[in-house]
């Protein structure tokens, strides 16, 4: 590894007007509000941090068991437990203000209006640098179908949030759709500044000895290395379909995995489940990417992004 700072490759990337010191961001719901990880790593080294999803009112979450391990995967049905936007502002934001890290608040709601209200409230919170809009949430006004499953509703939420805030808006897409590029294009047209993907893939698991689901909620969301090939493909397709920046995620455990997404065209990556396996995983990933650039003789991370070569040899 390079020791001389002057010789170190540039790791900074930009997601529209959002500048990140490096392309490695912690993913929503896997890093709490940062506090829990403070004893394990210098949060200032992160490219960015996406907070646990915030809704208008506090939500208690689902009954346990909430998680189950599957081959190379984690099924979760946390149920979007969170303290609600007001408690976030008073209880969690002060700690985040002390950090020199890009903070992205993740928001969700049960109606486009709720999304807009949460976005509005967070706009004035000093530590929040951008919003990530989780549209993998049932629309109560539409029989519980996820906003993200329908391009039209995804666009509606995007418009509502854009009107409510002047922060950069990243819309987080769900993989549980026939054609993610159709949703991506509509969300782009509705004014999103960037896209992030993928959220978890719907799944379930059965305990065959008790004939019961392994999650109390029956179904959950699958994350972890198992979903990586699906995520890389969706990111690659989306990058080609839109012109706004795309943040890739899904099963990134190490620098090699992160590079798959960057080479496929993601301008940054989010790391989720890996934080559970090792609370300092993101640092290893940042260092590993830097080392890879050094080994490859590349002095700017931006020169790696989107370099996938699909020509037949």
């Amino acid at each position: 590894m390079k020791t001389d700072d002057a010789e170190r490759p540039n790791m900074a990337v930009s997601i529209g007007r959002l500048m990140l010191k490096n392309p490695v961001i912690t993913a929503s719901g896997t890093f709490g509000y940062g506090e829990e990880f403070a004893p394990y790593l210098d949060l200032g080294r992160l490219g960015g941090m996406v907070l646990k999803g915030i809704s208008e009112k506090p939500r208690p979450g689902n009954p346990p068991p909430r998680i189950a391990e599957t081959p190379s995967g984690l099924l979760n049905a946390i149920g979007l437990e969170n303290v609600g936007v007001d408690a976030f502002v008073t209880e969690k934001a002060p700690f985040l203000e002390t950090l020199d890290t890009t903070v992205i608040a993740n928001i969700f709601g049960e109606s486009a209006d709720e999304y807009a209200r949460v976005a509005g409230k967070l706009t004035d919170v000093k530590c929040v640098d951008a919003l990530e809009v989780n549209i993998s949430c049932p629309n109560v006004n539409r029989g519980g179908m996820d906003f993200g499953a329908d391009p039209e509703q995804a666009a509606e939420v995007t418009r509502a949030v854009k009107e409510a805030t002047d922060l950069p808006v990243i819309v987080k897409l769900t993989p549980n759709v026939t054609d993610i590029t159709a949703v991506a294009r509509r969300v782009e047209a509705a004014g999103a500044d960037a896209l992030s993907l993928i959220n978890t893939i719907r799944g379930m698991s059965v305990d065959v000895y008790t004939a019961r689901p392994r999650l109390a909620n029956v179904t959950g969301g699958l994350s972890g290395p198992a979903i990586r090939p699906v995520a890389v493909l969706m990111v690659w397709e989306t990058v080609q379909a839109v012109s706004i920046p795309v943040i890739g995620m899904g099963g990134i455990m190490n620098a090699r995995d992160a590079l798959e997404f960057l080479i496929a065209g993601a301008r940054a990556v989010e790391v989720g489940t890996a934080n559970f396996v090792n609370p300092a995983a993101v640092l290893d990933i940042i260092d590993g990417i830097e080392r890879h650039l050094g080994d490859a003789g590349v002095d700017d991370i931006n020169d790696i992004i989107g370099t996938l070569d699909c020509r037949r040899k």
Binding site: P63, I67, L74, T273
Partner: protein, 275 residues
């Protein structure tokens, strides 16, 4: 900047089957490892390979400081992929250990201490009993342990408890050793004697056992702390995966994280009624 905590690399010093399906693994940790309070746990993962994906939580059963390094013991039962993999570890293998984590038992100050263990729930209670003995100040504490197991062959750790306890009472489901029945039934027969003198209970075991214990203690003025289990992903309070239902002050129910607010809870705080 203050000293960062980190996931430590450990070396397996020994890993042996002590009762049918039950193992004790001894791990030497090279980094700085905090003093563990009994009831605290570690997140454990074999150092190589990709299975299992997540670390698994285990109560610390003993801790020994040896100059630069710390040795900890975990007592575990093979129940699935992770513990099967763990049982295949051999001396010299590398493992990852994150901890100590969570809230341990409060050290009691009474003159009588009652331990109630179901299966591998004995692990933190061995640690507790040893620590309690070591901390005796003046008056000697009388320690009585109740240990439950499926059958004689799967009683793990009772011998270690005997080093510290005045009495170890055993219950087996099939009666192959000691009382025939559950450990809480065995305890129920004795509980009426315990109210008179300052007694506290420390318990660890499957939820059904702890729930039965709560019922046994109901109406008796005996303070009890229990160590709860729930599936965990992170162990450090971030994933919200390990929720346990508790009774809140206002009488409503809510969730607490077993890894952060627990694993040890005051018995009366847990909502035992449903799950």
């Amino acid at each position: 900047m203050e000293q960062m905590r980190k996931r430590e690399t450990g070396i397996v010093r020994s890993n042996r089957e002590t009762a049918r399906g039950h193992y004790v693994i001894e791990v030497e940790l090279s980094g700085v490892f905090d003093v563990v309070s009994p009831g605290q746990f570690v997140m454990f993962r074999p150092g190589t390979g990709e299975t299992p994906l997540l670390s698994r939580p285990f109560s610390v059963c003993s801790q020994t400081e040896t100059g630069e390094t710390t040795k900890i013991e975990l007592l575990y039962r093979v129940v699935g992929t992770g513990t099967a993999r763990m049982a295949s570890l051999r001396q010299g293998d590398t493992v990852n250990v994150l901890g100590p984590l969570g809230r341990g038992f409060d050290m009691d100050k009474g003159s009588r201490l009652i331990l109630v263990a179901g299966g591998v729930g004995v692990a933190p209670l061995i640690f507790y009993a040893g620590r309690r003995r070591a901390q005796e100040d003046g008056g000697r504490v009388r320690i009585i342990a109740y240990v439950g197991a499926a059958d004689e062959d799967s009683i793990a750790g009772a011998d270690r408890l005997e080093q510290y306890c005045d009495e170890v009472k055993i219950a087996t489901d099939d009666g192959s050793r000691g009382f025939r029945g559950t450990v809480t039934e065995l305890f129920r027969n004795d509980v009426k004697h315990y109210g008179k003198e300052a007694s506290v209970v420390r318990a660890c075991g499957p939820r059904a056992m702890l729930s039965a214990l709560a019922e046994v203690l109901d109406g008796h003025d005996i303070a009890c702390q229990v160590s709860m289990e729930e599936r965990m992903a992170c162990g450090i309070g971030a994933c919200l995966g390990c929720a346990v239902r508790v009774r809140l002050d206002d009488g409503s129910v809510g969730y607490r994280r077993v890894c952060k607010e627990g694993p040890v809870f005051d018995m009366e705080d847990i909502d035992w009624h449903e799950d």
